[in-house]
Symmetry: C2
Amino acid sequence: MIERLCIIGVGLIGGSLARALRAAGACREVVGSGRNEESLYRAVELGVIDRYELDFGSAVEGADVVVVAVPLGAMEGVFRAIGGRLAPGAVVTDVGSAKASVLEAARAAFGGIPPWFVPGHPIAGTERSGVEASFPGLFEGRRVILTPLAQTDRAALECVRELWERSGAQVVEMAVAHHDEVLAATSHLPHLLAYALVDALARMDESEEIFRYAAGGFRDFTRIASSDPTMWRDISLANRDAILVMLERFGEVLGHLTRAVRERDADELMKVFSRAKAARDRYASKDGATRNGP
Amino acid sequence: MIERLCIIGVGLIGGSLARALRAAGACREVVGSGRNEESLYRAVELGVIDRYELDFGSAVEGADVVVVAVPLGAMEGVFRAIGGRLAPGAVVTDVGSAKASVLEAARAAFGGIPPWFVPGHPIAGTERSGVEASFPGLFEGRRVILTPLAQTDRAALECVRELWERSGAQVVEMAVAHHDEVLAATSHLPHLLAYALVDALARMDESEEIFRYAAGGFRDFTRIASSDPTMWRDISLANRDAILVMLERFGEVLGHLTRAVRERDADELMKVFSRAKAARDRYASKDGATRNGP
C-alpha cells in the first residue's frame, strides 16, 4: 500500500495510473502537480487526485512514490525541482517514451543516476491527451518496460513493478538502448509516418476534397496523427538517433517498393505485400491473445 | 426492383452488396460467379446468393444488372467472357479502385466503352476479404463514386446510382482521372506505407520481439497491411502513375521531417505535427458527422 502517491503531470498516462491504483485500493492519497492549474483542478473534480500543489517540490514532500509523467522535454526541470525535496526512502519513476534521454536528464539534475530512480515506460496510450481522456483500464493487459541500471535499488525496482502490476499491466525489464530501438520501430516511426502522410495531403490544393473521400482504413492509419504535438516533438528530439536509423531502414523498403511500382514488377509487389500481411496477421493474433487472454 | 442481379466475385464487396440489396428488398434473385467454387458454395450456404455459375458468361444470362467485383487484374478477362452473353438492356458496373485501368480493360474487351457500362467504386472495405467477411451494413453512410463518360446511358447511370443508394451509400460523380488521384492519396498511398512499415520491421533480426512491444497505435496504423495482397498488387499496377506522384509528394514531406529530426529543429517539428493534427482532427470530426448523421 502506497501511503502517498505523487503524480507530476496528471494527463492521459498520469491520470489513468492514479485512477487504476485508486480503483485497486493500492494507494491512500494521491497528490497531483503540473503546470496547468485548470487541468489539476479538473483532476480533483474528477476524483483522479485528492489535491494538488503547483510547486513540484512541495508536491513530492512526504510522498512514498513519485511518478513523473510529463513530456520528455520537461523531465530535467521537474527532476531539478524535486531533487532536494524528496522524503527519505522515496522512490521516483517516470513514463517517458525514450529512456536514454530521461537518464541524461536525471544525470544532469541529480548529478548521477540515484538508486531510488527507476526508469519506466508503459506501452499504452490513445491519440487523446489530458486528464479528461484518462481512464482506469488503460494499462489492463498492456506491457510496461522498466530499464533499471546496475545501481538501481532492488526494493525501489520491486516497488515500481508492483505499482504497475496493481494497475493491470505486465512488467518486463529491458536494457535502455534496446528499449529505445524497439520503441523507435514500433511507435516513433509510425507516428512520424502518420504525421507526414496527413501533412502531405493537407498541403495539397484539393485537400478538403481529398479528406472527404477517405475511408475507414485512412481513419485508422492516421489516428495517431491526432496525438499531442508537444509530446511528439520531444520524443523526436529525445530518441533522435534510433529514430534516424529506423527512418533510413523504412526509406530503403519504401524505395524498393516504389521501384517495383515504377517497373511494374508484379511478382515483387506480391512478395512484399504477402510477407507484410503474414507478419501483421501473426502479430495481430498474438496481440489479441495477450489482450484478451485468461 | 432488380429481377436478377449477377455478382461476379462474391467477396467482401460483392457479398456485402448482395446482402445489402437483399435486406432492402431491392432484388428478387442473385446469381453469383467467380473462380473459387468452394467460396461460391459457401455464399449460397450463407444466403448471400441464390445460386452460382462457374462460367461467367452463363452467370450473366438473363440478368438485369451485373456487378463485377473482382481484383483489377481479372477485370478484362471477365469483360471478355460476358461481352456477347448479356441480356438486351442489361447494365454492367464494377467496383474497381482505379477507374482509368478498368476503362482500359473495358475498351480492350468490348472494343470501346459501351453506354450500358457504368464505372463505379464504393469507398468502403475492411482489411478482411472473402464472402465470410461480408456484411449488409458495409456501405451504410459510405460514399460511392461513379465515373460515367459522355457516352454513358443516363438510365444505366440512374440504375447503378439507385442500386448503391438502396445499399445505404451516398453516390457522387467524379471524373476518372480525378477519382484516381484522390484514391491514390487517401487509400493507395496509405496501404503502401503500411505494407512498407510492417515489411521493414519484419525484416529486422529481432522482429518477433519488436512486434511484441507494439501498442494500440501500431495495431491501428498497420491494420490495412492485413489486406489482400493480390488486390493491392493489382491496384499498385493499375493506378501506377497517380501512386508514383503521391509517393514522391510523401517522400518530400518525410525527407523534410527527417531533416528536422536530424538537425534537432524543434520549431519545425512542432509546426508539422501541429498542422497535421489540426487537419486530422478536422477530418475525423467531419467523418464522424457524416457517418453518424441523420
